[in-house]
């Protein structure tokens, strides 16, 4: 892990909306902190809760999952399932001592580059404030 200072945030972005949204942040030069590492997935519905738990067990400070807005899923329904899965996972993780603030799910469309940058900036700042999980 080479984020020397500050939290490590892992982002799972669906290929069709949010990954494209992050691309759009790039093309519109909407800057955000460099703490996030993005993993491309076809759909937010491909993000296995096992992966999320694994991120946290291995010491990641925060996880962001982003997918198409409900109703806009490239695969019609994927984000509806992820919404349910993550609602339960978030509750379980929080119960087990991983604050729900550390696991964020957002809907970001391909045109919301600026919004993506804003979300990541705010998320990173929050995580800096909370401090590293390892340190706590």
């Amino acid at each position: 892990m080479s984020v020397d200072n500050g939290p490590l945030i892992i982002g799972f972005l669906c290929n069709w909306c949010s990954y494209a949204g992050a691309d759009m942040a790039g093309t519109s030069r909407a800057a955000y902190p460099a703490n996030i590492r993005i993993i491309r997935v076809p759909c937010s519905g491909r993000v296995d809760p096992l992966l999320i738990v694994k991120c946290f067990e291995e010491g990641a400070d925060a996880v962001l999952v982003a997918g198409c807005h409900p109703g806009d899923c490239h695969y019609n329904e994927g984000n509806y399932y992820s919404r349910r899965r993550f609602a339960l996972l978030r509750a379980l993780l929080d119960f087990m001592g991983i604050e729900k603030e550390r696991f964020q799910v957002e809907w970001v469309s391909a045109s919301e580059g600026k919004r993506f940058a804003k979300i990541v900036t705010k998320f990173t700042e929050e995580m800096i404030e909370r401090g590293s999980r390892k340190a706590s």
Binding site: P49, L50, V53, K54, E57, E58, G67, P70, G71, E77, Y80, Y81, R83, R84, R85, F86, A87, L88, L89, R90, A91, L92, L93, D94, F95, M96, G97, I98, E99, V105, E106, W107, S136
Partner: protein, 287 residues
Amino acid sequence: MGSDFTQQIRDKAKELLEKGTVECVIGYETGSDGFSARPAFIYEPAEVERLVFDNTCSHNLVKYLLNKKGKPTAVIVKGCDSRSLNLLLSEKQIDRDNIFIIGVVCPGVVEWGWNNRSDQLQIRCNWCRQHNPVIYDFLVGEPVTEGPPDDFADIAAMETKSTEEREAFWREQAEHCVRCYACRQACPGCYCIDCFVEQLDPEWVGIRIAPEENLMWNTIRAFHLAGRCISCNECERVCPVNIPLSLLNRRIEREVLGLFDYRAGMSEDAVAPLITFMKDEKLGIGE
């Protein structure tokens, strides 16, 4: 109650075996300590006298049906156990046509008393709202009125702790865990041929016994039962190091009930909450 229930079960088992309706009756018999029930597999009409039913009949026998695929079998279920029948039917793990269900209106089951008969009810009976079987072919006992909805006081108590305290609590539990997987073996919902925890590629859980790996196991075990756990609490009962697994299961259960108004195993054709959705629901995710 005990002797009467026992007699009814024996009579029914005898009838089923004699008629050839089933080739095996899975029930309870008195164990080696002379008073605690243990699972019994009865193949001959003559052996039905081994069968008993009392408040030590804790095991969820539905689990054993998974080994009886394709064979006509009768099984004795309490209220909670009966919900796991619906779970396995909806997940196509058992075939209704091959199963004869002897439902028993559950009087509550007691803790295992080691050398003495205990009269302490197990904690699952405190929150149980399913003394009456939800599915059966033959019912033993008069259906009772179920209590008011569960208030999940145990979960609320845990939630009064700070996040740090909760993390420390579960880390400590994880340090105790020896990954014996007894919880999995007792659970009727755990029937994967190749459990994720033992897979090497992908290696979701490291093979070493370390707290973070143990925590991964316990978290995912609970999550794989999200919307499927039927609260028989056999996992917690069989845990040799007394990890309070019910807290995890019931935290999710409360969420599933709150968000989706769903209780697992209440009917054969119910669709579990994680494999369906509603378009306009608000779940506090991405809003």
